[in-house]
Structure formats: C-alpha cells, structure tokens
C-alpha cells in the first residue's frame, strides 16, 4: 500500500523535525500522583480516566486528518495549526484584553465556525487549484509543511508566546468518584467529545453526504460516475475537518492551556492515532487516538511524564508489527 508508506514516512519526518524534538507538551491530567498517596489500583484507574479524556480530544482532531487523507490522499501537516487556530480564536473572543470578552460557550461556537471557514478557505484557495493542475502527492505534502509554518507564525505574531487560559471554568473543585477524581469541566469536555465523535459516526453512516464521503474515499472515479460532485464532497470534508480541529483545540486549551504551538505539538499524536487505527478509516482514527491517549497517560504510572509521547509511539510500532494495516485498517483485497 503505497499511501501507507508515504504516511509513515511523514510520521518519521514529524518525529525528527517536529514537535517531539522540542518536547515538553504535557497531556492533561494529574499523572504524577505523589508519594504515599492513593494505592496503585486507584492511580491506574485515574491514569486510565485521564487517558480516555486525552484520547477523545486527540480523536476529535484526528478524524478530520483521517478523512482528508481518505478522500484526497493528502497528508495534512498543517492540521495542528487548525487546532491552534480554534483554541486561539476562542481565547481572543473570551479572554484577550483586546477582545470582546464573550462567555466561553459562544466563543467556542464561533471558533468552531471559524475553523470550518478556514478549512473551506484552504481547500478552495490552495488545494482545489493544485488538484486541478494534477500536482503530485509529494509536492502537495511539501506545500502542507509550508502552510503549517506560515499559519503557525501568523498565530505567533498575533497571539504571542504567552500561554493563556479561558476566563470561565478555569479552576474547579474535583469531584471524587470512588477512587478517581475529575473536575466538572473535564467531565463535560470528555462527554462532549464522545458525543461529537458519535455525531461524526452518525453523519458518516446515516446521511447522504456521509455515505458520499465514504464513497469518494472508496473510489473517486466511481463516485463521480454515480453523480457525486467529488469536489463538493472534498470541500465538505475540509469544512468538517476544520471545525472538528477547532473544537478539539478549544477543548485542549480548556483542560490544559492555550499556546501558539499547541496544535503542532499535538500533531505527532494525531498522526500516531491515524496510523495506529488504520489509514483512511475514520473509526480507526478514533480508536487509534484513544489507545494513544491511554498509553501516554498510563505510562506515567511507571515512567517520567517527559517520556509519555515516546511510549505512545512505541505502542504504535508494536501494534503495526502485529497488524501492519492498523487496528481497523483493511488489507487490500486481491482479486
């Protein structure tokens, strides 16, 4: 499977030049449970809960990456920036001194809308013209790297390097649920993330547009031959991917912190989730991201937090050794 090789090579690139090198991104949660605190069982349960919470947020962002890859075989290196744009624009509307000071909920909705618009703009402004010219996949991939750099620095100029938090739901009392604890904020984010993923699944499975997305991913020419306007479906995918990435960005900024390169740091885990789950499978991206999130958090039970991404990637390698096509990936049917 040529595309798979390309995607894995891209992951290697992210690993060498990418956020992992600059490290330091810590996942949400309270992994570093102290000395003589709760017993191991309780700590493991807590790490699992934190991992699920982290995983579903990665999943929201990774689904779009997977759908884009599935429909146009583009490896979108700039996907992290879509995440950052969501988080930062919600920050501007909600907490910035020069912003309107909206409540977080309308600010988040506006950020999601903006994410969708940015998705549409990059497809119409960049990818559609390049597709029309028949630009090769490798060239397109290089363009996404350039776009990532460009967008990241635009954000840097506009937002600056100072980490920020949203005004509402900043500090909360943990609810104790037996051995584990979670803040109402984190619980809400997790539940909303799961509902979002369910919504995406329903869209793909039950609606005409969703089935058309799967049809285009399966066979472009045959989709066109069925009367589907492929370019329009691809535009819908970009809008969906942009909106989901922005939502994931707001959630991540909410449970963690808003920074100018937060999406870029998350990119590695999104890639890992997509590959682990099986390239081009949206449900695979969800499952893969969940595994990545859980492994990253569980690893902190035994190992330093700084290494949690490394353990997530090790899990990726191990799974691919056993199932080269990923968790939900299909082997190419021969004959």
């Amino acid at each position: 499977m040529g595309h798979q090789r390309l995607f894995t090579a891209a992951l290697a690139l992210v690993l060498t030049v990418g956020p992992a090198a600059s490290a330091g991104a810590t996942a949400p949660g309270r992994g570093e449970a102290g000395d003589a605190g709760p017993g191991f069982g309780a700590r493991a349960l807590q790490a699992l809960l934190d991992g699920v919470q982290f995983g579903v947020i990665i999943a929201i962002t990774a689904v779009g990456l997977s759908l884009i890859f599935g429909t146009i075989h583009l490896i979108n290196f700039a996907h992290g920036e879509l995440v950052t744009i969501g988080a930062v624009s919600a920050f501007f509307l909600n907490a910035s001194a020069s912003g309107p000071g909206w409540h977080l909920i309308p600010a988040a909705l506006a950020a999601v809308l903006l994410g969708g618009l940015v998705g549409a703009a990059v497809d119409l402004g960049v990818w559609r013209p390049l597709r029309r010219r028949g630009t090769g996949l490798i060239n397109l991939f290089i363009v996404t790297i350039g776009l990532s750099l460009l967008l990241r620095h635009v954000v840097l100029v506009l937002y600056g390097t100072r980490p920020g938090s949203y005004v509402q739901y900043d500090i909360q009392q943990t609810i104790e649920l037996g051995p584990v604890g979670i803040t109402p904020r984190d619980l809400t984010v997790t539940v909303l993330s799961v509902l979002t993923l369910l919504g995406v699944a329903l869209l793909l499975q039950r609606t005409r547009t969703g089935t058309a997305i799967r049809a285009v991913a399966g066979n472009r020419d045959l989709a066109a031959a069925s009367g589907i306007d492929v370019q329009r479906v691809v535009l819908v995918v970009w809008i969906l991917a942009g909106a989901l990435a922005a939502l994931g960005g707001v959630f991540f900024g909410l449970v963690e912190i808003v920074t100018w390169d937060m999406g870029y740091k998350l990119l590695l885990l999104m890639f890992a989730g997509v590959i682990l789950g099986g390239l081009g499978s949206a449900y695979g991206a969800m499952a893969g991201s969940l595994v990545i999130g859980v492994v990253a958090q569980m690893s902190t039970l035994w190992f330093p937090v700084d290494l949690q991404y490394a353990w997530a990637l090790l899990a990726l390698v191990l799974v691919l050794l056993v199932r080269p096509q990923g968790i939900l990936g299909r082997r190419e049917r021969v004959g």
Partner: protein, 246 residues
C-alpha cells in the same frame, strides 16, 4: 429536457486522449450510438477501449475532438454532470464501492435522485434477484459476477438513457457471462441505449446492432454486428479462425 429525435444519443468525434503528457492513447477515434441502439466496441488488449469509455464519460481529459450527447457538446464536462444528463457508466475494474453495503451502493447510484431510491431499488431487485438477499452485505465480499450485477444496478438507478459498459463479462464463468449478456439485451430492450466494450468479441457482436473494432486507438473496422462477425479480416484478427466454421 427536449430531445431532438434525429440526433444520436452519443456522438464522439475524432477523440484524442491519453494519460501521460505527449502520449496519445486514443488517436482519432469516433463512435456513434443512436437512440435505443446496442453498440459494441471490440479490439485487442491495450487498444484503448476502456480509455474511450473514460474519455466519453469525462473521467479523462479529451485533448481534441468532441463528445456530444443529444447534439449538445459535453466534451470534458465532469462525470457527475454526464450522470445528470442521463448517462450511466460501469467501469471495467473496481466497479462497486467495496466498503459500502449493497444498499449503500445503490443509494450512491441514486445520489442525484434520492427520491426515486425506493422505487428504483424495488424495480432493480426484481431485475437482479441476487441483490435482494444481500442488501446489508458489504459489496467487497461479493463474488465477481454478483459485483458485476450490482455495478449495473448501481448505474441504472438514475434511469439513464445511455449506459456505458466496460467489459461486463470479464472474469465470469460462461454461465454467468450468458446471464450478463441476457441482462444487457433486456436493458436495451427496455429502451436504454448501450455502448458495450467487450473482450468476448463473438458474443458481443452476436447481440449488437452495430460494432466498432478498435486498434491502436483508432477505428479499424465498423459495421453491423452480423457484417463484422463474417468479415474475413475481423475473423482473422479478433475472432479466431474457428469462427469460419459457422
């Protein structure tokens, strides 16, 4: 849509097309399909038969030449627009969505006419009974013959006036081939014009009103099915000398 009855449904004139820059696969190829006609295209492997179907259908850029539907120029229009204008296409390979169920495949066939999905499904399940029992089965798990029938049903969902079939009998057992040809005849009898590309030259010419022999991207011979079946040159090159015995 007012149709000019005198115009052929499809008129492809002097098509030049190819995949790689500077390499023409079709080099001046013309076909005509009249209203309700069943027209065959035969020729050796690599002659450009599939390329002709793709170029006509807007899946491959036509370099020079024109494609007309009902007298209207549709050269290089995107495929989904040709579907809207009443053309159905069944490719030679990968002609179903393997990850989608049979029902979803049909739903995609009816993408432009979602309202008529239920009625057409019922009609086509009548016509292709194998599909009825398989509604929720993934198309990828069907046999080659079943897939061919599903592919045809998918292309017929929009009730096209012209159906392009690329080697519908390829890879099927003789029994299934017979069934496919029988179906094609019935589809045509129902008033659908058919342009059929076939490897199985003799069977194709037996049921076709007219036929084209394509070689190296050009029309090599043209005639009625019966004429081509008895043409010395065509027998020599494409049918095999056994055909003379008849």
């Amino acid at each position: 849509m007012a149709k000019n009855v005198n115009e052929p449904v499809l008129l492809a004139d002097d098509l030049v097309a190819g995949y790689l820059p500077g390499v023409d696969v079709l080099r001046g190829c013309s076909v005509e399909v009249g209203r309700g006609e069943l027209v065959g295209v035969i020729g050796p492997n690599g002659a450009g038969k599939s390329t002709l179907a793709k170029a006509v259908f807007g899946l491959l850029k036509v370099r020079t030449g024109t494609v007309r539907l009902d007298g209207r120029d549709v050269t290089n229009r995107p495929a989904h627009e040709l579907v809207r204008r009443g053309v159905g296409y069944v490719p030679q390979l990968q002609n179903v969505f393997p990850a989608l169920t049979v029902e979803e495949n049909l739903r995609m066939g009816a993408y432009l006419k979602p309202r008529s999905f239920a009625r057409r499904t019922a009609e086509l399940e009548e016509f292709f009974p194998v599909l009825r029992a398989r509604r929720s089965q993934k198309a990828g798990s069907m046999s080659g013959g079943e897939r061919q029938l599903l592919a045809m049903a998918r292309a017929l969902m929009t009730e096209p006036q012209l159906l392009l079939l690329d080697e519908p009998s390829a890879g099927l057992s003789p029994l299934f081939q017979d069934q496919v040809f029988e179906r094609v005849k019935e589809i045509n009898a129902a008033g659908v014009a058919v342009l059929m590309v076939e490897q199985n030259a003799r069977r194709c010419l037996q049921i076709c009103i007219r036929g084209y022999v394509l070689d190296l991207g050009r029309n090599a011979h043209t005639g009625t099915g019966a004429q081509l079946l008895h043409d010395e040159k065509v027998i020599e090159c494409y049918l095999g000398t056994l055909a003379r015995a008849r």
